[in-house]
């Protein structure tokens, strides 16, 4: 399996603060990868490292088998839509396309023109007066028409209204279907990722908490509910990710490849949102819980 993105011990330091530290993971080819994590987890830093905007302080990151960096060939293989989709406010839509043609030897002008037409954008309109959704679509067009092997998108839909968000993701899916491009899409909006992603990477405090095929991940996790029970009494093959208890009932989210045999449990499938939230809160609570040092004997 070829990897499109591979990080090993990757770290980036700003002054004394580490924005990303000791980050290692692999992303296989041909997937639409959702990179999820809370704000400040290092998603943007990670994508900037991947596209050569930043240089790592520690470790390595390779993209499409080559070390990421500020190299024209490598830059040509990766399309990037940055957060808040920066464009030149004073230049028209048509001039943005000409910029793309000037700066990318692999530019596909037919693709760019047809996408602009399809989106109903006026080529003479200045980018500064476009709506948020149109800006994002133009940025996606620019990134796509250079015919990259990998598309990196940093929170492209975060600031869009639901309709524009859906249209953007539809556009993205069309691109993926037509051009067989791998995609890494960062977001903290899990519901949006659920629609488009088939691979998930959960990044919390610069550590990868979970990564894998969405279908496999969904198949290997179960929500169990039943009479109150100590999670430590579960079989070894069932890893408890999240637990919540009331006086009489326990609800657990477990990871297991085996079927659940215990008839006491009501077994339910999990959604992607359940998974992401469970892993994110587990990482947050990873600090050892304080327990009373002295128990009172009765």
């Amino acid at each position: 399996m070829t990897t499109v993105l591979e990080a090993a011990g990757l770290g980036k330091q700003y002054g004394r603060r580490w924005a990303l530290q000791d980050c290692s993971f692999k992303v296989p080819e041909g997937k639409v990868v959702g990179l999820v994590g809370p704000n400040g987890a290092g998603k943007t830093t990670l994508l900037h490292l991947a596209v050569g905007l930043l240089a790592p302080t520690a470790g390595t990151i390779s993209v499409l088998g080559e070390r990421a960096g500020d190299d024209p060939t490598q830059l040509g293989r990766v399309g990037f839509v940055a957060q808040d989709t920066p464009l030149y406010g004073g230049l028209s839509v048509a001039k943005h396309l000409r910029m793309g043609a000037f700066l990318n030897p692999s530019w596909d002008d037919e693709l760019a023109q047809s996408r602009i037409e399809q989106l109903g954008l006026d080529p003479r309109q200045r980018a500064g007066s476009l709506s948020g959704g149109q800006r994002a679509q133009l940025a996606l067009t620019l990134a796509t028409a250079k015919r990259p092997e990998l598309l990196l998108l940093d929170e492209p839909v975060a600031s869009l209204d639901p309709l524009a968000r859906r249209e953007f993701l539809q556009g993205l899916m069309e691109v993926v279907a037509k051009h067989e491009v791998s995609v890494v899409l960062s977001s903290h909006l899990v519901a949006d990722l659920e629609r488009v992603c088939d691979y998930l990477v959960v990044l919390v405090a610069s550590h990868v908490e979970l990564s894998g095929d969405v279908s496999e991940l969904l198949a290997s996790h179960r929500r169990l509910s039943g009479p109150r029970r100590d999670p430590d009494s579960l079989p070894e093959s069932q890893e408890v990710i999240e637990e919540s208890h009331t006086d009489r009932q326990s609800t657990l989210l477990v990871r297991t490849d085996d079927p659940i045999l215990d008839p006491a449990w009501t077994v339910q499938p999990v959604t992607m949102e359940d998974l992401v939230l469970a892993y994110m809160s587990r990482a947050r609570d990873a600090v050892p819980r304080r327990r009373p040092k002295l128990g009172v004997l009765r």
Binding site: L53, F80, P86
Partner: protein
């Protein structure tokens, strides 16, 4: 990349071009008149014997326009640095569009090098054309004034060097400060400081000046900048020379002691009477002593038997050497600064 750099800077290039056209029209309308006036009045004044009136009348003609043209040539490099140089990278960093620009299939080094090249060459062209027009327009005036070094930085090729330096200085300020407005302010301050420092500390030392003895000519008696009262020598009339200093010396090289001066010219040195005016060429704060100009003249005649003037100066034929030296220094400094910008954008901004 060149075409993209041109696309981005086309508006400002058109504005600059428009400004040049306006200046060209003004210069083309008034210039021939000035040449004609020179040919008919100053050039033939010796035959008529009214050179004093002719030159005064000639220099008064279009005096204001000449001053403003000079101010423009001095100011335009700074303006280019502030409005073209400083925002070049700073605006991209400020608006975030660098994330779009640096992820196209062009390395950052090439991106900046081409932008520096395209906009920088445009800045050089603007300053060069402006200086060319100012130099042509002022040439009859310069022929009358005979003070080429006095307008050294408004003429010929040095404005091109200033423009290159101001532009790259602006880019560097933008790259380091990363915000447009502070970078613009810094550019202006740093450019003015560099120009002044160069004029005071570097230009006088580029070539060792000529030191020559001239016959003593007394310009006045007074004090310069609040110093003690003494005789102020008149600089000799060397056309187009840059007079650096004029000192009164005797044959052995000694100065003119005040006691000796009192002895030879006893009616000098009394406190100046109220109501006496300054003497032209006498320096700042120079005042006529009692006895007036006649007393001075007498004194000068008495002293010239023993004393002479030692004049330190740069002769007129070094004018172009100075122009080329200064241009070369500013251009080399610009290239070094451009290298620093590229290094900074590649290394420090990632």
């Amino acid at each position: 990349m060149i075409r993209f750099a041109w696309m981005q800077s086309r508006t400002q290039a058109l504005v600059a071009f428009g400004g040049l056209v306006v200046v060209a029209v003004v210069v083309a309308v008034t210039g021939p008149h000035l040449v004609h006036l020179y040919d008919t009045s100053v050039a033939t004044c010796q035959a008529r014997g009214d050179c004093q009136t002719a030159t005064t009348a000639f220099l008064n003609e279009d005096h204001t326009l000449g001053v403003w043209l000079g101010v423009l040539v001095v100011a335009v490099p700074g303006i280019l640095g502030v409005f073209w140089g400083a925002p070049l990278v700073a605006r991209e960093l400020e608006t975030g569009s660098f994330r779009l620009a640096w992820t196209q299939s062009v390395s950052r080094k090439r991106w900046l090098a081409v932008k520096l090249g395209v906009v920088g060459l445009a800045a050089l062209a603007v300053a060069g054309l402006l200086s060319l027009m100012a130099t042509w327009w002022s040439s009859p005036i310069d022929r009358v004034n005979l003070n080429l070094f006095g307008v050294f930085d408004q003429r010929d090729i040095v404005p091109v060097g200033y423009a290159a330096f101001a532009f790259v200085l602006g880019v560097a300020a933008g790259v380091v400060i990363r915000r447009t407005l502070p970078a613009m302010a810094t550019t202006l301050a740093a450019f003015v400081a560099c120009r002044l420092a160069f004029n005071h500390w570097i230009r006088p030392h580029l070539i060792a000046p000529v030191v020559r003895n001239f016959a003593l000519s007394i310009g006045g008696f007074g004090s310069t900048n609040g110093g003690p009262f003494t005789l102020i020598p008149n600089p000799p009339g060397i056309p187009n020379a840059w007079i650096i200093s004029v000192q009164i010396r005797d044959r052995a090289g000694g100065g003119l002691a005040n006691q000796y001066l009192q002895k030879v010219c006893p009616n000098l040195g009394q406190p100046p009477a109220p109501g006496t005016g300054g003497i032209p060429g006498g320096g700042v704060g120079a005042r006529v002593a009692p006895g007036g100009a006649n007393g001075l003249q007498e004194c000068g005649v008495k002293l010239s038997a023993m004393f002479h003037e030692v004049v330190t100066y740069q002769p007129a034929n070094r004018y172009w050497t100075f122009q080329w030296y200064e241009l070369a220094i500013y251009l080399v400094a610009s290239l070094i600064l451009a290298g620093v910008c590229i290094w900074w954008v590649r290394r420090r901004l990632s």
